[in-house]
Amino acid sequence: MASVSIRALNKKYDNGFHAVKDVSLEIRDKEFLVLVGPSGCGKTTTLRMVAGLEEITSGEIRIGDEVVNDLPPMDRDIAMVFQNYALYPHKTVFDNMAFGLQMRRYAKADILKRVREAAEILGIEPLLERKPRQLSGGQRQRVAVGRAIVRHPEVFLFDEPLSNLDAKLRVQMRVELKRLHERLETTAIYVTHDQVEAMTLGTRVVVMKDGYVQ
């Protein structure tokens, strides 16, 4: 488990757009921090910089005690759930969830055990042999979450994971995510533009606007 600390983080794109301006945040261990704000306010960019998918213009990001500014995503011990789920369409649900473990050369038995465990928590055991296109939106969402939790990462990153679901399912998944966080006690950063979602999920809510933290 780990804390995340962000200091004076800036992001300027090549075209001159200044997306994130001097953002400083301390995310404590086991905290569920929600970044909320209108679209284009820099919240997703901030998250992507924590993930290592976006280069940092200036500032510092620490996960635990380590400065991760120049670490590639694979070495940061994080997991991310994307808005469009980003499930690998050619792999079965099981292989989708096992991929991260396989890349890290876990033993076969261990992979099996962890995937089973995650599938059980999320109630997707019967779906393990299916391909993503045979799943409903809610099921895909669960698989995406499952793929994140099998690795027991230090930090979860969520990029508007519920915005592609219908209203009813969204409420249900919100409750489940909340319960999941209580059970796993992993530090999480959650990006959304939905204020209700922010209020119900977060142990702390941070509002961003025009690249600044409000």
Binding site: M74, R76, M80, Y88, P132
Partner: protein, 283 residues
Amino acid sequence: MLIERKWKKWVYFYLPMALFILFTLFPFYWMAVTAFRPDPELYATWRQPNAAPLWTLHPTLEHVKGLLQTTAFPTWLWNTMLIAIVSTIISLICGMFAGYALARLRFRGSEFLGTAIFITYLVPQTLLFIPLADIIRDLQLGNTPWALMLTYPTILIPFCTWLLMGYFKTIPRELEECARIDGATRFGAMVRIIFPVAIPGILSAGIFAFTLSWNEFIYALVFMASADQKTVPVGVVSELIRGDIFFWGQLMAGALLGSVPVALVYSFFVEYYVTGLTGSVKG
């Protein structure tokens, strides 16, 4: 109302469709009929009594036999196959990496490079064969299959690169980002995630490259001199037209047999091919 619609469908859909099919398939039919028509019938004038130019009542295999026995057709077929397969593989591998780089990596001059590759595709072969012939001669590759295996990719790589670049761009970036967070390097994510997802695109590029090199004429005509090194399109034309005598039956038999492998390849992959060209990946 319903009846009128049915009537309209016939006029606006089935009839034009039938005409279109007739128009596109007639040359193939003509080729097949000519290949199986005995010589006396072939050279009879249409004004003769009992003339039946559109069909034959005495099908014969003499042209096919003649083709296989008097010419090096089996060798041509083998040459063509080998050259087409090797140059397709070379072009696909280069095209996959180049297409990926142009679609995903941000580096200085990437757009210029993309355009430059496209422009090389636009240079007509009828001009390009002159400098290429010089190179082939310097490398002493003339009259060997390598002459074609190495020159076909000059047309095929730009083509494959562009087709695959377009396809890679339709694959959501997140797939790759997720793979990188999952622990793959950029190269690993490309090979394990992007390439398998792009299989329809890769297959259609492959089919296209295969067909282009199968049908290629100019390079094969210029770089291959001896009869046993020729490819089907060149061999059939150069050996079966002697002076002003056209061996129509054997020519058509050669065309027919020569188009069979391509037709087979198409029919195997046609579904992939269509999805490849329309390019759709759903998350």
